[in-house]
């Protein structure tokens, strides 16, 4: 079943800070679509992704999953529908396999289910040669791909990828783009933040351009791209 995420006038201020990192953002995100979030450094891209992923509770406004406010309900059950992949992913102690199984273990899956899910994603992202390696010895690009695989094995409705291409070489980028397209085809909601507007245009249906925490431009990818080109 599809999902709709509504951001209604959300703002976010980091604890101890006086200025808002995200200001009065309203946008509706629908399943089966890929949304690109872009903007200069410090424009609030990561904060917005973390709000969508229910890691940060907005200081003003509401996030609605379908019609419910997860923050007024059982937040853990809603968090299990969304996964956020950090720009610089953290690996826990142990092998790549341990890391891939982490979320599934947390959610109480049994050994066979874990194996089956991991095998499927590992084949898709071509990670089988890394499974037994210590996760902390991986290169930045390998870590990024493992973190994305760790998210995908959970089969979330919403997947938020923070600068997912920043450490990937050409082949890995291509592989990831294929996966993103597949996810969209399966009716998942994909949100990607990136500085690379060209990449977002090629991958996403809709682009949100942030500046100083607020949306200054949004719309279908092609339109936003043309607008940005004409401005600069």
């Amino acid at each position: 079943m599809g999902i709709r995420v509504d951001l209604r006038g959300i703002s976010y201020t980091y604890p101890g800070s006086k200025s808002e990192a995200v200001k009065n953002v309203s946008v509706t995100l629908r399943s089966g679509m890929c949304y690109g979030v872009t903007g200069p450094n410090g424009s609030g891209k990561t904060t917005l992704l973390k709000i969508i992923s229910l890691l940060y509770k907005p200081t003003r406004g509401h996030v609605l999953y379908d019609v419910s406010d997860p923050w007024r309900s059982d937040i853990t059950s809603y968090r299990r529908r969304v996964v956020y992949v950090h720009e610089k992913p953290l690996m826990v102690r142990g092998s790549v396999l341990d890391n891939l199984a982490l979320g599934l273990r947390i959610r109480g899956y049994n050994g066979d289910q874990i194996k089956e899910r991991i095998e499927r994603i590992v084949a898709k992202l071509d990670l089988s040669s890394l499974l037994d390696r210590s996760a902390r010895d991986l290169s930045a690009g390998q870590r990024q791909l493992v973190a994305i695989a760790r998210a995908l094995v959970l089969d979330p409705d919403v997947i938020a990828l923070d600068e997912p291409y920043s450490n990937l070489d050409f082949r890995k980028r291509k592989r990831l783009s294929r996966v993103v397209n597949e996810l969209r085809g399966k009716g998942k909601l994909v949100v990607i933040s990136s500085h690379d507007i060209g990449l977002l245009v090629s991958l996403c249906d809709y682009i949100i351009y942030l500046e100083d925490g607020g949306i200054v431009l949004e719309g279908p990818a092609g339109e936003v791209y043309r607008e940005l080109l004409s401005e600069h």
Binding site: V82, V83, V92, R93, L102, G103, R150, A151
Partner: protein, 212 residues
């Protein structure tokens, strides 16, 4: 003079128990302090108490445990239990303050990771504990080193009773006062060897852990 191995064993038992006791409340306390900004002012309090003089802790505990004190009915004064309580209180600020810093970093990384993978608050806390365990062990070992090397508490509430509450540090003080310098130096060397040995073991454990 009592056989040195008895004194060493007693010291290790007393300080080890005190350390376990202190870790039992200091680690959850550190997690609480790190996970809520409301409790942050308490961190400064614990940090300030890290260097509290051992004789002051000994004196305060003496006043509490002495026959006319509020806890005199427990009849703990001049017992190993009194030293254990005193040392546990002495090292609580140290373990709490160091563990707080470890958990603050751990929470900012691992808690978020756990939550995004669908963990409940309890599961997230367990992951933070698991991933920061080597550093937490180090903070507990620091506490043990301070406990085993302190003199004030052991002397004031333990009373340095031969065969009962005599520890390595009180023995060194006594031997020095009696001019038995050879015995004092011997115990001092044992004390140093324990501190160095424990530190080496911890370093080894951390290295093994990191390479996993």
């Amino acid at each position: 003079m009592e056989p040195i191995q008895n004194i060493v064993l007693r010291s290790l038992t007393i300080s080890g128990t005190a350390t376990l006791l202190a870790a039992l409340w200091s680690l959850p306390l550190a997690y609480l302090l790190a996970s809520s900004r409301r409790f942050r002012p308490l961190v400064y309090f614990f940090e300030a108490l890290v260097g509290i003089p051992t004789v002051l802790v000994g004196l305060l505990l003496y006043l509490l445990l002495s026959r006319n004190g509020p806890l005199g009915f427990l009849e703990l004064l001049y017992t190993p239990q009194a030293i254990i309580i005193g040392e546990a209180l002495l090292i609580t600020p140290l373990i709490t303050a160091v563990s707080y810093q470890v958990m603050l970093t751990g929470l900012s990384y691992y808690r978020e990771l756990a939550l995004t993978l669908g963990a409940s608050d309890r599961q997230a806390a367990l992951l933070v504990f698991r991933e920061t365990l080597p550093s937490l062990i180090s903070s507990v070992v620091m506490g043990f080193s301070r406990a085993v090397g302190e003199l004030g508490v052991a002397l004031i509430v333990g009373g340095n009773i031969k065969g009962y509450t005599r520890t390595m540090t009180t023995s060194i003080a006594l031997a020095t006062a009696m001019g038995e310098y050879e015995a004092a130096v011997k115990l001092g060397l044992v004390l140093t060897a324990i501190a160095v040995g424990v530190s080496l073991v911890v370093r080894l454990v951390r290295r093994e852990w990191a390479s996993e």
